[in-house]
Symmetry: C2
Subunit: 134 residues, 2 copies
């Protein structure tokens, strides 16, 4: 398994725990000795582990919380730290996320998550392919 | 200057370049040999340096682009990588940003930026202070 695969596996575990409402797995995924933070969509940032874990407990305990499917993951490696940027599909809503992981005890643990709405889809932001006139 | 101060200085340079419409300084700030990405508010993510720099050139060349004031910065250090989470005040709008920096050639260079709207302010998300009943 490459480093990128290991990071993607941790990212998938985040969305699995979210959709399965698995608060134990969610807490396990977040780093214990590295500083952590989390910016839920529309929220002000939560800046310590206690606040982050409490927010996830509340979200996962809420029967109205949506399920989330993740796709178009892109991994960016910086040694002991990695970023995954991915799209989050919720019922009737598309978000884009920055998920930051750091190595801790030989595993990739989450240290930061921010997601927010996408109003302008990727296809609309891309330039025309090379060779196309105007 | 501590590492946290050096990261904060790089973060301030980002907002200075933004508000001064200084495209040269903005390009200089983004890492050259590390992978970079950028998620502007409401946009799909831009996943390579060329697309990121082009987006900033367009934003900074646009006379209608807002000025941005940054405050409430919090620095999170992970060795060669650092995250700054801060609030961005635009005229009539508040955003929250994740700015990721990595060491390159002895300097802190930007490798990722995501900002998005805040609908729920920090004061509303905080719990009551210890000792307060209910």
């Amino acid at each position: 398994m490459t480093e990128a695969d290991a990071v993607l596996a941790a990212n998938l575990e985040f969305y699995r725990a979210f959709t399965a409402r698995d608060a134990v797995a969610m807490e396990r995924l977040w780093a214990r000795r590295r500083p952590v933070a989390c910016t839920h969509p529309g929220w002000a940032p939560l800046l310590d582990r206690e606040a982050v874990i409490e927010s996830w407990r509340n979200i996962l305990a809420n029967a109205d919380s949506p399920t989330v499917a993740c796709h178009d993951e892109e991994v960016f490696l910086y040694g002991e730290v990695a970023i995954v940027i991915c799209e989050e599909d919720l019922p009737g809503n598309v978000l884009t996320a920055t998920n930051v992981f750091a190595r801790e005890d030989g595993a990739w643990r989450m240290v930061h998550h921010q997601s927010g709405p996408v109003f302008q889809r990727r296809a609309e932001t891309r330039r025309p392919p090379p060779g196309r006139l105007n």
